[in-house]
Amino acid sequence: MKRDWLFTIGIGFLIALVVMAIIGPMRYDVTKEVGAKFLPPSGAHWLGTDHLGRDVFARLCFGARMSLAIGVSVQVFTIAFGLLIGTAAGYGPKWSGNLLMRFTDAMFAFPDILLAILIMGILRSTHLTWMDSLPKVVSASLPVFGALAVVGWPSMARLIRNQVLSLKEQDFILASRALGAPHSHVVFKHILPHLWGVVLAVAMVGMALVILAEGSLSFLGIGIPPPWPSWGSMINDARSYMASYPWLLVWPCLALSLCVLALNFVGDGLRDRFDPRHAARTDP
């Protein structure tokens, strides 16, 4: 298997990123000035400081924390909701499946990023009282989560519906039904266990897409609000100084691209493991 080492590298990078996301921002407060502006890398500030004198390494790690947190939470929502709707549409009566297909068709014709921006516009101006009890950074990133979750779930539901449709026609399902198993048994014991592999692989690639979308929103200035850092907003900030301080631009770009690459490698690797036919088709 040629892809095995890519899979290993991807997993390794993601673990390193998680560790960095947990312990990296502890050293400095990422929202406050901790030194002079535009310091070069040194023992105290590993990647130097930015245009407001904030530690770049700590901000980079905090960006990883935001991206991973949003990526994972949006995917968890997407999988849960997608499984519910997709299984119902695939296993249920034909009209429910058709309804879902028409709905997802319509959602595909709506540009993702535009819809996310529009939803962000509403969510950012709504304020609910229970949000006050949450930490500030969580309540500030909730609109991003909401927008990306709303945009993301239809394609997952569609995928699961198609998987369920092809599973439903297989002989072991028929055999199970013929033996008198109720629908609930078929769905929970036969169909859902078969879905996990594909869903997990797609969720990895989907997480990469969510991280990209979060980056786009933050780059446009409507994602994670300042002063909290996100890779997208760090890139946007660094643009103004890129002629004199290109490294400020390079680090978040590198982090984001590598993270997305790693997620894609892991997703491909998982798919090869769970769907050997696909691996045989594409592996040289």
């Binding site: 028409r102 014709a109 516009g121 594409t282």
Partner: protein, 392 residues
Amino acid sequence: MSSAVDTLIAREPSALKPIVRLIFVRLLWSVPTLVFITFLTFLIGELAPGDAATALAGEKASPEAVARLRHSLGLDQPLLVRYGRFVVNACHLDFGQSWFPPYRPVGEIVSEGMGFSQMGLLALAAVFCCAAVWVFVRFLNALKDFRAVFWFGALAVVVVFAWQIAQIAISMPQGRTGPLAIYAILLASAMGVFFGFIAGIWHGKWPDRFATTFSTLGVCIPTFVLAPVLVLIFALKLQVLPDTWVENPKEGVFWYLVLPVLILAMRPAAVITRLTRASMMDVLSQDFIRTASAKGVPFWKVMTKHAFRNSLVTVVTAIGTSFGFLLTGSFILETFFRIPGLGLKSIDAIYQGDFPVIQATVLLFAVLFILVNLLVDLILPLLDPRIRGSAA
């Protein structure tokens, strides 16, 4: 049994019928889609703070004046009534006017941002180019004949027309979503088809490794990373390309276009490479390729005439889908370079809360997306007769 065969035979002579049916069915299905999308946007506008009255009356207006204006604009009517009025107006291609100075008609803003006139001219130029190729083939066929003179004259006329139209299109402002998408899809198709083709032929060797790496990177590196990094390298460090967009440069429009088009083309090129490669490999593993090679057809002829032509269905689908995404998704790039296309205009409209512009943009994007996909489905039966029967 026999009746099924009869209907098959009866259907066979006219290839036109299923196509008309396809167009009809798809356009009919697009109506609920469009209603759903516009209603969703309408609801979002309803939930967002501010409306036409507060925007038009200005910040200093008294609440009474705002209420009066709201009543005179009919904004105090029920939601469905206002939505119905929007639909009726939209059917007349009347999208109202912008809520902010200079209060331009929305249809004008949107069509200017999309660059419909340039798109039309470019499409016309493309038609003339196709005609030129066709006439050139006729000219070659007629070379030993006196009719070659006639075909040569026709060729000259067509080439001159194509050149003139392309000239007009290029002399117009280029910073519009439509022309940029067209240039980007041309570049992306050329790159993607070439890389995918060589990767499929030398599968597992270095061209394949190169193409696979390229497609993986192209999919993983987003516009908002690629754009600043390329500007940093080519404009600020090497200083070979301009670093900002200039609306109507005196000379060298081409150089201003290089970076935006390259950045736009990267992702579609990656997608097209990946799908072309997969499709080529799929076709190359089939029996008729081995048969063709075994009976002594030259290698390149097998690759182009047998393998590539059969992988075209996937390739064209990939190109069409990518074009749809290019037309409706260049927000980041246009915002980065401040190119005054529809992407930048709609982002600005969202920041301002200029709702009619958002509504019209969403509708236009959805219509374009549906039309491009329909166009792809119309081209596919021309490439693969097997699809013809099941078209609708």
